[in-house]
Point group: C2
Amino acid sequence: MSEIVREIVVVGGGVIGLSVAWRLAVSHEVTVVDPAPARGASWVAGGMLAPVTESWPGEEALLDLGAASLDRWPEFAARLDVPLLTGGTVVAAVDAADAAQLDVLAEHLASLGRAVDRLTGRELREREPAAGPGVRSGLMVPGDLAVDNRELLRRLESAARRAGVRFDRRRALGVESGAVLLDGGVLETGTAVIAAGAWSAALHPALDTLVRPVKGEILRLRERAGALPLTRTLRALVESRPVYLVPRAGGEVVLGATQYEAGFDTEVTVGGVRDLLADAERVVPGIAEYGLTEAAAGLRAGSRDNLPLVGPLEPGVLVAAGHHRNGLLLAPITADAVYAMVAGEQPPAPARAADPARHVPTRR
Amino acid sequence: MSEIVREIVVVGGGVIGLSVAWRLAVSHEVTVVDPAPARGASWVAGGMLAPVTESWPGEEALLDLGAASLDRWPEFAARLDVPLLTGGTVVAAVDAADAAQLDVLAEHLASLGRAVDRLTGRELREREPAAGPGVRSGLMVPGDLAVDNRELLRRLESAARRAGVRFDRRRALGVESGAVLLDGGVLETGTAVIAAGAWSAALHPALDTLVRPVKGEILRLRERAGALPLTRTLRALVESRPVYLVPRAGGEVVLGATQYEAGFDTEVTVGGVRDLLADAERVVPGIAEYGLTEAAAGLRAGSRDNLPLVGPLEPGVLVAAGHHRNGLLLAPITADAVYAMVAGEQPPAPARAADPARHVPTRR
């Protein structure tokens, strides 16, 4: 077994902070600082692990990073004993512009050697009978996974506790070399890892304009008697608005997500719910018969280029934030990358594009 | 002061049961049986006290009953120290059929000597600036009131407790002359009053087919910065679907209500929420900017003729149920009617139409 070499403080107990802390706890004493661990944006997420259907020309580095993290997911999930949904993703287009956008995506993926199956509306409905006649065409992406984000967070927190991670419920006010400033104290530390999602910007001057909150509203639905069940993750473009439906064990379906940039606002709005329901119904008409059990909003941590920020900011201070819509997907590779950097080693190659030095001068 | 003459058991602690119990406690020992008092359908309600805008040709007895109860509301509210919204109701019509339906209502009310003001779309928007350009015409009903149903329930419960009413949290299984059967006991009683709303049907054979659950979904919204505030109760017909928006102190707005007859189902559905939001937005476009803070479903107690059932079923057993959409409005006159019957006196004249003897043979 590895020896305990020094104390590390991870600021933020969402999926990134918990994954990093759990990974580091193999060989370090780790403290996670968070007033409400296993919550935040990760709690509201849909749980898709879908780098391919999220990809877009110009974002090849993000696709490589996501694909490398997806490769790590089966082992990551197995160690946490959390099940994965393995049915792949169908992507549906509703109007002609949506279909044209899927053409661009399919051609882009083909140019990268990642061929996907184009589907007619009828072929798509054969694979996902809950899809309605308004679906014009689609894609099938077999390799995508999905996970129950809340189950994952619970498992991660308890795995971290079992590995010896301590939790400090005070609120972090700032991070500097050698110290994490808390509301009511200071934690002196060899290494601090800022993993506070959208709240990271306020914790270190180098992150000030690099991370911003991107509000997302998500609904939780429940199948009711008579409603056609959804069999796999369904993404769609509805008049250019992206929407997704992720089925969970037990008949739950997560429907998301809106995107607004409006500061640290987490109130669910009438307009957001109306759009999600209307768009979902265009793709899956039977959704009207589902129960609506929860509406919630979270704040993704947006970055300038949609790539996260994973790397050193100054001696003894690392950042692992800005994961935007991909926090769950990128958790395993982010944890591996931070672990390598703390050990003085090179992070996995695809993670190098996430170095914050691409935006700001950093002191190593 | 009156003397305590005998013990009365009221089955059901919603707005009707609590009002009856509070009224009877002046001169009787009263026990309310309810596992969750001050909840039920009354908790989910909108709080409109609006007999005129609810009226329809053929339902004159209900209008008389509602009007007589509305007259009692200012004193009822003052004794409970609960504020009333007194701005009246505007009723909006969206399409031509909706406008024609308002014409029928206006002519009907005029024939009863209850003139209301017909409004053009522009005149309606002058009275309620939050109404949008899609409103075609409308009515203004100055006398309608509204009350915060949850505040009312809290005040009623504490007023009843202060008046000496006792609460038994066991579930009632049945009512017969001289006894209320509970899950885990029997309460022997001189008089039982069945005021269990939609659940009343199962408590006495005479009510078996007379009261049925009518599901209603209601949303609670919250004004946000930038959204035009609603100044008074707004009802509307949107392609024949009724919808209402009731403003509350503090920026809350209650938006209701769907109507389904599907048994004792209280799950909020996607289709119900979608309809409420879409219809409300047709009338008040700015609603999209509001926060959505709660979605809930309740079960109204429907009767065959929309009139409640208030009166004796057999010696020592009275019913006060079947109030459908009008439980809050009809609470004061129902309490007065039950009080009179228990005292062996005639109930107020308009309450005589609610006698259950109109449907079933009853033994006095």
